[in-house]
């Protein structure tokens, strides 16, 4: 009994010792000056495309710091931070000033132009025997003719819904030609986009390269890392594929387009993609606001920077060629159907 009491006493003594509550770092300063400096410094350390964008970040900081310190409210302060980030001209760079707030994102001039794509027009005027949305909720799929199938990816948001594409390809297995429509796809999950793209190839191939920021200097970037497209899914479609793109295709949807366009059975049709490729990470300010920064530079297989250039189609259908009103047509889809007809 005595033995056990001694043991428990020792344990209790150690338990008391274990209650130490250390302070590893000083509590963060949440003044506008400190928050501005934190964001400027983190962006300086993290952002990957200062040289691509030709931005002198020191100058940008010198311009915006006095404005940030003069801000009279959180709203005004957020505007200054957002304006500073917008000087990077990068759609992947944004500020979310608090829980539930809308992200303040850079908008390019082309983002304000009218849309040249109407998904409801495709559904009304072109698509027949549509697959049930209950079966493929992330896709819009059906038939354009007896042998030409159609699959639209509105976005690549989410995880692990490649099984839906397997189901769609299974339903459309009698098609000899396939139209894949990513127009107005804003992107989403890079890994998912490549997983889906893998349903359209039966062999691995390098489709691009990335260099990832890995140090404090603006040109501290990894050596080029190959991006590889690998076959995925239960079945791969090996017939002729028409990939439809426009100026509102961004981010991982551009990775998808980049991966598919190098396949011998793929014809890209429409307009050049948006040219937004930075792979953002989220950073957090001491006041809980978050912001996103691009962390890599993506290159085509011939080592040209994708950012701001986009993925150009092989068959160009100029914007604004779809007409208006009741006679409105989808010029890109009309062009594809004409091409498909010539190939039988």
């Amino acid at each position: 009994m005595m033995k056990h009491r001694t043991f428990l006493l020792g344990a209790a003594a150690l338990a008391v010792t274990a209650c130490a509550d250390p302070t590893l770092v000083a509590p963060a300063d949440k003044s506008y000056a400190a928050l501005f400096d934190q964001m400027w410094h983190e962006t300086d350390l993290t952002y990957s495309m200062f040289d691509v964008k030709r931005v002198n970040w020191d100058s940008v900081g010198a311009v915006y710091r006095p404005r940030a310190l003069a801000a009279q409210s959180d709203f005004a302060f957020a505007r200054v931070l957002s304006d500073m980030l917008s000087s990077l001209h990068d759609r992947h760079v944004s500020l979310t000033p608090g829980r539930g707030a809308m992200p303040l994102t850079y908008q390019a001039a082309s983002d304000y132009q009218p849309l040249d794509f109407d998904s409801t027009l495709v559904e009304r005027a072109y698509l027949t025997r549509r697959l049930s949305a209950a079966t493929v909720p992330h896709l819009d799929a059906g038939w354009l003719s007896a042998t030409v199938a159609y699959i639209r990816f509105p976005s690549f948001v989410g995880n692990d819904w490649g099984g839906e594409l397997d189901a769609a390809l299974d339903s459309l297995r009698s098609a000899t030609q396939l139209v894949i429509d990513v127009r107005c796809n804003p992107g989403g999950n890079y890994e998912l986009a490549l997983d889906l793209a893998g349903r359209f190839t039966d062999q691995s191939s390098v489709f691009g390269y990335v260099r990832i920021r890995n140090g404090p200097k603006h040109d501290d970037l990894t050596d080029p890392i190959a991006e590889t497209l690998r076959p995925t899914g239960k079945r791969q479609f090996n017939g002729t594929i028409y990939l439809l793109t426009n100026r509102r295709v961004f981010s991982s949807a551009e990775n998808f387009a980049l991966a598919l366009r190098q396949l011998p059975n793929v014809v890209t049709v429409g307009d050049t993609t948006g040219g937004s490729s930075g792979r953002p990470v989220t950073r957090e300010l001491a006041n809980g606001w978050t912001y996103e920064l691009s962390t890599w530079i993506e290159y085509t297989t011939d080592h040209r920077v994708l950012e701001d250039a986009g993925v150009a189609p092989t068959v160009v259908v100029p914007r604004g060629s779809s007409g208006n009103g009741a006679g409105k047509r989808d010029a890109v889809l009309d062009r594809v159907l004409a091409l498909a007809a010539t190939r039988g």
């Binding site: 033995k3 001694t6 043991f7 020792g10 344990a11 150690l14 338990a15 010792t17 274990a18 130490a20 509550d21 250390p22 302070t23 590893l24 770092v25 000083a26 509590p27 963060a28 949440k30 350390l45 993290t46 979310t96 608090g98 829980r99 539930g100 707030a101 890079y190 890994e191 990335v210 990832i212 920021r213 890995n214 140090g215 404090p216 990894t222 890392i225 991006e227 792979r279 990470v281 989220t282 950073r283 957090e284 300010l285 001491a286 006041n287 809980g288 606001w289 978050t290 962390t295």
Partner: protein, 261 residues
């Protein structure tokens, strides 16, 4: 700080060891044995690759170990791991879930012991691997990012024991002199799995592990153990890291009857 603490402990133990230290029996403090323990760990972390704020949390900890006495060399292996949910301290935001593991292998040579093995001191080398996966949820609920810290290190270690209170008190410490650090510069990316690998010496990575324990025979084969361990890392890089884990565990050591001391 930890180094000074370890040095002080060593001096206290050295003072307790009588001058007559010639061997009588095996001088390793721990017999050839297996040990398993369970307890609670408090983790404190501040990783500038995430946001630099300090996060703290407690969670269960499971540890296993083994000790062997091979030709008067004491070999001790130890592995521990646990999962914890961390909240910000000092006004930070967001939360973290971490999965943390540590393994240590020490090879120690007894250098001083009393004639009846009442007090022992062994010194040697310790190799350690620590790995932490962090899933950080941002304060504005905008999503999560994954981060990683892996440290493999080599450095001196000591282990001392003193028979008292019907059992044995232990004090040990190890210090990383040379380390390999895997700390991705930004969040973990699927395309560059090991891009953050760097070599760190004492000038950029300081830390250590201090172990205080008490063991008491409960039966012929089983010894009860209670241990308090502190493990800390101060990594100075572009993205500095500070970690401190405090672990309190209770367990059992299974010993061969002939190994009892």
């Amino acid at each position: 700080m930890l180094t000074k603490h370890a040095a002080r402990l060593a001096l206290v133990v050295l003072a307790a060891v009588p001058v007559a230290v010639l061997a009588q029996g095996e001088p390793c403090a721990r017999p050839t044995s297996l040990v398993a323990s369970f307890g609670l760990t408090q983790s404190d972390r501040a990783d500038a690759a995430i946001n630099g704020s300090q996060y703290q949390g407690r969670g269960p900890q499971l540890s296993v170990g083994a000790a062997a006495n091979v030709r008067s060399i004491c070999i001790e292996a130890f592995a521990t791991g646990g999962a914890r949910y961390l909240r910000p301290v000092g006004g930070g935001f967001g939360s973290e879930r971490i999965l943390e593991g540590r393994a240590e292998l020490s090879v120690l040579k007894p250098v001083a012991w009393s004639s009846d093995n009442r007090a022992t001191l062994a010194v040697g080398l310790s190799a350690q691997v620590t790995a932490t996966n962090t899933r950080h949820a941002f304060g504005d609920a905008s999503g999560v990012s994954k981060y990683r810290l892996g440290v493999g290190s080599l450095g001196p270690a000591f282990d001392a024991s003193y028979r008292a209170m019907g059992g044995r008190l232990f004090a040990g410490a190890s210090i990383p002199l040379v380390s390999v650090v895997d700390h991705p510069y930004v969040a973990v990316s699927s395309l560059d799995p090991m891009a953050g690998l760097r070599v760190a010496t004492w000038s950029s990575l300081r830390g250590g592990n201090v172990d205080l324990g008490y063991e008491r025979p409960l039966s012929r084969l089983v010894t009860g153990t209670v241990a308090y361990q502190v493990n800390g890392i101060r990594y100075d890089d572009v993205r500095p890291v500070r970690t401190l884990s405090q672990m309190l565990t209770f367990g059992f050591r299974l010993t061969r009857p002939t190994e009892r001391r």
